[in-house]
């Protein structure tokens, strides 16, 4: 008992706890709970200085079940210090540092059972067994990684090829774009030239048109006055060229609220503050408010309120739209439809104008139209090329792994079903969930970033900004990517509300140099 930290004890209970010296298999005697590497710091021939240097105590105070050091370094083998650690060798398996509070607490924490040397439990040494299992698991993993790494090499090749292809495509597209732009510019110049000629030719017609329009307006105005005067005369029963309250109250059209009588308010509505009105005032004040009522009576006009009530429905559609996810493709689709819309309008204009002009103008218009069409087409070509460029650029910007090993997975979709839902993971795109009982697809997130942290960045994918939860944040999904020979979605859970967790295996993750391939095979004695 050379290194005994024995001090005379008062009670047998303590005797048990404080018989400190242990001989571990490595034959280096050291205080209980101290690792081999720290053994030199505990020299029985000297006083002990706490690791933090604050206090020096007799060596007999080491592991005497009383905490003297603020850093807990004097009690590596007991539970006396709240902030201390106990080292278990765990021969046959991995060594461990457990918090001192787990020493002699009645729970076997170390597989060699050394943490429970003075409690009521008897711990069996399970290190050999656990070690064996761990080694077998490490072996299995190593083999898996090895097999997987061959597939991974293929994926890397394909990934690089895909990337190169994209780079080439991009180059080609850039070239196409500049050509297309050139064409577009030419077409534009031509269009502008022909349009100015067309404008010149149409000027005459447009002026004529304008005169015609003014004429029509004047006629309409005169008609209106005429109509109003006729109506005035009809109402002016005493023919004194003045309309009085009495005269109008016989006509039901003035009974706006249809209560069977023309009351003060109604009179005011039609007469302003006047008692009676003459012809001019009738035309300028009364007629404009009367006419719609007349038309309504004749069934030609519907009151405005009723029409408004019909409006709100489209909102519902808009709201429904909010639930669906927008992607780049959707954008293109909508751009496309915009283009189609323009075209239709242009055609309408043209068709209206046919047959009105003389032959020469007709020809100019036709030429201009032709030029416009060509220009539009050229513009569309440029837009299409630009869209393709954007798409490829986006893909090129994506992080497909250090060696492009994940590149070929882009756009691949994998499904997983549980009791209630079908989950769909489209790699580097989006995650969705669809109830088996029907209902719309719910977005659980769009591709965000790799989130495995510094030690293993490519072990976790994060899909963010899914559909928002009630009273909560947007749904997100984390995909844990593990090495497997098959590319497969293994499981889906919702550990936190609206935060989904997926396990996904792929040979792309079988990187033999990654930390996850190694953690089980190290640390062994």
């Amino acid at each position: 008992m050379i290194y005994s930290t024995w001090i005379s004890q008062f009670y047998s209970v303590l005797l048990l706890i404080c018989s400190v010296i242990t001989y571990v298999q490595s034959d280096v005697p050291r205080p209980r709970g101290v690792s081999l590497s720290k053994a030199p710091l505990y020299s029985p021939t000297k006083d002990f200085t706490c690791f933090d240097g604050t206090i020096t105590i007799p060596f007999s105070y080491v592991n005497d079940d009383y905490c003297d050091c603020f850093d807990g370094s004097d009690e590596p083998g007991t539970s006396a210090c709240l902030n201390g650690f106990f080292h278990c060798t765990n021969a046959g398996h991995r060594p461990q540092n457990i918090p001192s509070s787990r020493v002699n607490d009645g729970v076997c924490d170390c597989c060699d059972g050394t943490d429970e040397y003075a409690s009521e439990v008897t711990c069996s040494n399970t290190c050999e067994e656990l070690g064996r299992e761990a080694r077998a698991e490490a072996q299995r993993l190593a083999e898996l990684y090895k097999a997987g790494s061959h597939l991974r090499v293929e994926l890397i090749e394909k990934g690089n090829a895909k990337r190169n292809e994209m780079a080439e495509q991009l180059q080609q597209l850039e070239k196409d774009k500049s050509e297309a732009e050139q064409i577009k510019n030419e077409k534009e110049a031509l269009k502008n030239e022909l349009e100015s000629k067309e404008n010149e030719a149409l000027k005459v017609y447009r002026e004529a048109e304008e005169q015609e329009r003014q004429k029509k307006a004047e006629e309409e105005k005169q008609n209106n006055i005429k109509e109003s005067l006729e109506y005035f005369t009809k109402l002016d029963s005493d023919k004194d060229e003045i309309l009085t309250v009495g005269e109008i109250s016989v006509s039901s059209v003035f009974d706006k609220n249809k209560d069977g009588q023309v009351d003060e308010e109604e009179v005011k509505y039609f007469f302003g503050d006047r008692e009676s009105i003459d012809k001019d005032t009738f035309v300028s004040v009364t007629w404009p408010v009367l006419k719609p009522l007349l038309m309504m009576e004749q069934g030609m006009f519907k009151p405005a309120e009723e029409q408004e009530e019909l409006e709100p429905e489209p909102d519902a559609d808009e709201a429904a739209d909010l639930d669906t996810e927008y992607t780049g493709q959707d954008d293109e689709a909508s751009e496309g439809s915009d283009g189609a819309h323009e075209e239709v309008e242009e055609q309408e204009v043209e068709s209206e104008q046919t047959n009105i002009y003389d032959e020469e103008t007709q020809k100019l218009v036709a030429e201009a139209s032709e030029a416009r069409r060509h220009h539009t087409e050229a513009e569309r070509t440029v837009r299409e090329i630009e869209a393709n460029i954007r798409k490829i650029q986006q893909n090129l910007e994506k992080d497909y792994g250090l060696q492009q090993e994940f590149a070929t997975l882009d756009g691949e979709c994998h499904e997983y079903e549980d009791k209630e839902y079908v989950y769909r993971l489209c790699i580097f795109q989006r995650v969705t969930q669809k109830s088996k009982n029907g209902g719309a697809e719910v977005g659980l997130g769009n591709w965000g970033e790799w989130a495995g942290g510094d030690h293993n960045k490519y072990s976790i994918m994060k899909y963010t900004n899914g559909v928002a939860c009630w009273n909560g944040p947007s749904r997100i999904t984390t995909v844990h990517v593990i090495c497997g020979l098959e590319t497969k979605l293994l499981s889906v859970t919702e550990p936190f509300r609206c935060e989904y967790k997926m396990e996904f295996s792929t040979p792309a993750a079988c990187d033999e140099s990654s930390p996850s391939s190694q953690h089980s095979s190290h640390d062994e004695l």
């Binding site: 009670y11 005497d64 009645g106 944040p473 509300r497």
Partner: protein
């Protein structure tokens, strides 16, 4: 756990804001009897005692009381009543007034009392001029004025402490037969029936009121009182406010979704006990009634009380508080406590209704809860993370989602297929599981509970006698009628291990929603005209054959937890102590379980109110109280979460809980610095776990609050009368939780200046001389806690994963010296879970420190417990002249001890005395 409001969520999702839906709940005006009786303020009481009928037999004076028509000169007796005045032990009297010959028996609350109250002697002292004076064996007197009836209770000093019917508000509405509408000639008969007598409506609900009006009321005046306290559960201050403007305080157990602060609205619990206190004396009244009750308070010191009224009633006297209880049914049954100190009245109340038995030790540790830990993997993950992040915890909880589609006593077969294994995994680390069982029963064909209850007639019946159907978590639900002994027994037996597979002695229970909560019922509870069991008896037919829900409402949850308690005892052959958490509470609930303050929110106001709410419950017998740490609704940001853990660590029931729709907030989900602060708060709790256990042992013996208002210990210090943001644990620690954001200091009131009390900051051992308020600087890690000079507190400083793993650990004894250099303390030790303490297998030890020696002794020589714990360290704070040597004596052994003096703060540390705590010891000091 939660309220029914979730069901509304979809409807309210747009534009909804946090807050109670007040119009779901009645105001006094909407509650027929409250409106009717509150306005009843006669100048002179109609009630008078017939002196010729007075009989004193044993401890009871009985007499006939009549109502007399005061509007005529002729003496017309309107109705006959029976009065009983009983003298009970410990300065307590009981006053009962029932109809002399009621049409049907009126309901007498059944479970509140902890057995028959113990009788004291009673004798007539004098009987002259229409005034009878009686006295109990101690010398407390009651002066009974016959006409109008008035009872004055006189304490030992000869002062009137409580007056009954001084404001003439005694009222017992006689039961009557409903008169059918008759011919016009007899309209005078019909006129007696006020509208609402035979039926009332609230919102879409109709209450059929088959017995008509049957309300009771009485006023209690407290001369020379500064304040009154009690009648929980409300979110108001500890000291009750004058209610002349607005509604009275309401007592009616209700599931109030998003309840509001500073309110006199009824919430989950209803405990009808009120205490008065002034510098001269303390008194109290327990209104023994389980029906809906409203309580008015008029404090004459309050500026809102019209001064003319003060002059009229008290002749200008400013110190007085009047209260008035109005209940919908039952009889007048009031216990009067004559104090004279606060601790006396609190004890007098628990003498009657019982105190909490020693809880299983784990239940005083930290509880980790959420609605819901979703499956077994989740539970395992939480359990593992508690260890990974070194957060000590004793219990993981399962809310309603563990069941097979809300059928209690079943497990979700997919999410919880192996409950026994899950429990074993927890118990391997000394942890426990608590599962919820609510009193509503899913009406589903094939569910054994529903089929049994239907077949055996075990459900509460509706007004027509059919099984009542309400709506709760499972959808269509019915409710067990625990008032029937057969139902209660049946329910108890559901807890037997063979009937609830997957449970073991380490699985404990949570009875939530037991107000009862009925989502589609009036005021979210059961209709008042539902029928409960009444023991069959000759002549009890028709309306007399059952009790209505209105009679028993506030007692329903108590019947529920009593049945659960019985079942949990049965399942372990009465060997192990059960733990039950209940949301509804009534007088007597404390005998069966802990109470928490229901569905609060992650807001600073709710953290702050947890203190007055629990203080109010504590003085009303419920010491085992806490709030959902972190807040149930909403998400607590790190600072609020930190302050809530720090506060919760020093409140009796310490459980973190959250709503299913909120973000997860287990301690490790915060940034590391916050997690460290939460860990530190938990560690403080665990270091004091034996201190808490000792407090609860002492409570089980003396019935005094564990969590105490300052005025309990400092009854003459007027500043303390309204302090409810700080409190005492026992008479030992003073706690002032930080309940505001962003503060760098808080005002702390240190009481006891007159006694030259010292208060030691537990972090620094710095001694403050009590002198009222001082400013305590705080950082985010600071919890202002002070140990009273003169107190010794046992600590365990080796914080393990759970409290049971610390059972054998050594103690650090913190001795805080008073101005005389002395201190004392106590420590209770037993196995933490069984009833073996009843067989003297426990230690209740006293510590005593004087300058020449410190002793550890067992006052009860027959009680022993073979603990392996020992004394690791003794910290003596406030020592002016340190001893030179210290020597331990235990048995015939002696040992010299080492000591270290810390000059900066006068702290002497005795290193490792090593004495075993199973036996007495002594340390002598020489100078």
């Amino acid at each position: 756990m939660k309220s029914w409001g979730l069901l509304l969520v979809a409807a309210l999702a747009i534009g909804s804001s946090f807050g109670v839906h007040k119009n779901n709940f009645k105001t006094c005006d909407q509650s027929g009897f409250c409106k009717r009786l509150r306005s009843f303020k006669p100048e002179k009481s109609q009630y008078s005692l017939n002196l010729d009928t007075v009989i004193v037999h044993g401890n009871v004076l009985s007499a006939e009381v009549n109502t007399v028509d005061t509007t005529t000169q002729k003496r017309i007796i309107l109705w006959h009543y029976a009065l009983r005045l009983s003298a009970l032990v410990d300065g307590t009297f009981r006053v009962e007034i029932d109809e002399a010959d009621p049409l049907y028996p009126r309901y007498r609350t059944q479970l509140a009392l902890n057995g028959e109250p113990k009788a004291d002697g009673l004798k007539i002292v004098s009987n002259e001029n229409g005034i009878i004076t009686v006295a109990n064996s101690q010398g407390h007197k009651v002066i009974i004025t016959a006409e109008p009836l008035k009872l004055e209770f006189v304490n030992l000093a000869g002062d009137v402490a409580v007056i009954l019917n001084d404001n003439a508000q005694l009222m017992v509405e006689p039961l009557r037969v409903k008169k059918e509408r008759v011919d016009d000639e007899d309209t005078n008969l019909v006129e007696v029936e006020e509208e609402g007598t035979w039926g009332e409506n609230f919102k879409s609900h109709h209450d059929s009121k088959p017995r008509g009006n049957e309300a009771v009321s009485l006023d209690f005046s407290f001369p020379e009182a500064d304040n009154v306290y009690g009648i929980p559960e409300h979110t108001d201050k500890l000291a009750l406010r004058t209610t002349t403007s607005g509604d009275p305080y309401r007592l009616y157990n209700l599931d109030v979704f998003e309840y509001e602060l500073d309110s006199r609205m009824a919430i989950y619990g209803a405990i009808p006990v009120v205490y008065s206190h002034g510098p001269k004396r303390t008194a109290g009244v327990f209104w023994h009634n389980s029906a809906e009750t409203w309580v008015d308070v008029v404090n004459y010191a309050d500026s809102t009380v019209v001064s003319s009224l003060v002059n009229l009633v008290t002749g200008g006297q400013k110190r007085r508080v009047d209260t008035r209880f109005i209940s919908e049914s039952g009889i007048v049954d009031a216990f009067v406590f004559l104090g004279e100190k606060p601790a006396d009245v609190f004890r007098q109340y628990t003498q009657l209704t019982g105190s909490a038995p020693i809880p299983p030790k784990f239940s005083l540790a930290y509880h980790q809860c959420r609605w819901n830990y979703v499956d077994e993997a989740d539970v395992r993950g939480v359990d593992d993370n508690l260890d990974n992040y070194d957060i000590p915890a004793d219990v993981i909880w399962l809310d309603i989602e563990y069941t097979d589609r809300k059928k209690y006593f079943t497990w979700d077969p997919i999410k919880f297929p192996h409950p026994s294994d899950m429990v074993a995994n927890l118990t391997a680390k000394g942890r426990k599981l608590v599962v919820i069982v609510d009193p509503h029963v899913k009406r589903e064909a094939g569910y054994f509970l529903h089929e049994d209850a239907t077949e055996l007639g075990y459900y509460v019946k509706d007004k027509d006698g059919k099984d009542y159907e309400g709506w709760c978590w499972p959808g269509s639900s019915s409710y067990l009628d625990f008032f029937d002994p057969a139902v209660s027994k049946y329910n108890s037996e559901r807890y037997l291990f063979e009937n609830f597979p997957g449970t073991s002695k380490d699985v404990h229970l949570w009875n939530d929603m037991n107000e009862p909560s009925v989502f589609n019922g009036p005021e979210i509870t059961m209709p008042k005209d539902c029928r409960h069991y009444k023991p069959p008896q000759d002549g009890n037919d028709g309306l007399a054959a059952f009790w209505e829900h209105r009679h028993v409402h506030n007692e329903y949850g108590l019947w529920n937890v009593r049945s659960t308690h019985e079942g949990m005892l049965q399942r372990v052959d009465n060997k192990y102590r059960p733990f039950i958490l209940t949301r509804s509470a009534f007088s007597g609930t404390q005998r069966y379980g802990a109470v928490w303050t229901g569905d609060n929110a992650a807001e600073w106001g709710f953290l702050a109110v947890s203190v007055p709410m629990c203080l109010s419950l504590s003085v009303a017998g419920v010491s085992f109280c806490g709030s959902d740490v972190g807040g149930f609704f909403k998400y607590p940001e790190p600072e609020l979460m930190t302050r809530w853990y720090q506060a919760g660590a020093f409140q009796p029931f310490f459980r973190a809980h959250s709503h299913i729709e909120t973000k997860r907030r287990e301690p490790w989900l915060y940034e590391a610095p916050t997690t460290a602060l939460l860990r530190d708060a938990n560690r403080r709790r665990y270091a004091l776990i034996d201190f808490w256990y000792t407090l609860f042992y002492e409570h089980s013996v003396d019935g005094l609050p564990v969590m105490r208002p300052l005025f309990q210990e400092y009854p003459h210090e007027e500043d303390t009368f309204t302090i409810d943001d700080q409190y005492l644990l026992g008479d030992k620690l003073l706690i002032r939780p930080v309940v505001q954001p962003g503060v760098s200091s808080v005002p702390v009131y240190l009481p006891g200046a007159a006694q030259r009390t010292l208060w030691y900051d537990v972090d620094s051992y710095h001694a403050h001389h009590a002198a009222g308020y001082f400013t305590q600087d705080v950082t985010i890690s600071k919890i202002p806690v002070y140990q009273r000079g003169g107190i010794i507190i046992p600590r365990k400083e080796r914080i393990r994963r759970s409290s049971s793993l610390m059972a054998d650990d050594p103690y650090t004894l913190v001795v805080a010296l008073d101005v005389n250099g002395t201190a004392q303390g106590s420590l209770y030790i037993d196995d933490g879970e069984s009833y073996e303490y009843r067989n003297n297998k426990y230690i209740y030890a006293k510590f005593k420190y004087e300058s020449n020696a410190m002793t550890y002794s067992f006052p009860n020589e027959n009680a022993h417990y073979p603990t392996r714990s020992w004394v690791e360290r003794i910290v003596i704070a406030g020592i002016k002249t340190p001893p030179k040597t210290a020597k331990l004596h235990q048995g015939d052994k002696q040992l010299s001890l080492q000591m270290t003096l810390h000059k900066g703060n006068d702290v002497l540390v005795v290193r490792k005395p090593g004495a075993n705590m199973a036996h007495p010891w002594k340390i002598t000091f020489s100078y």
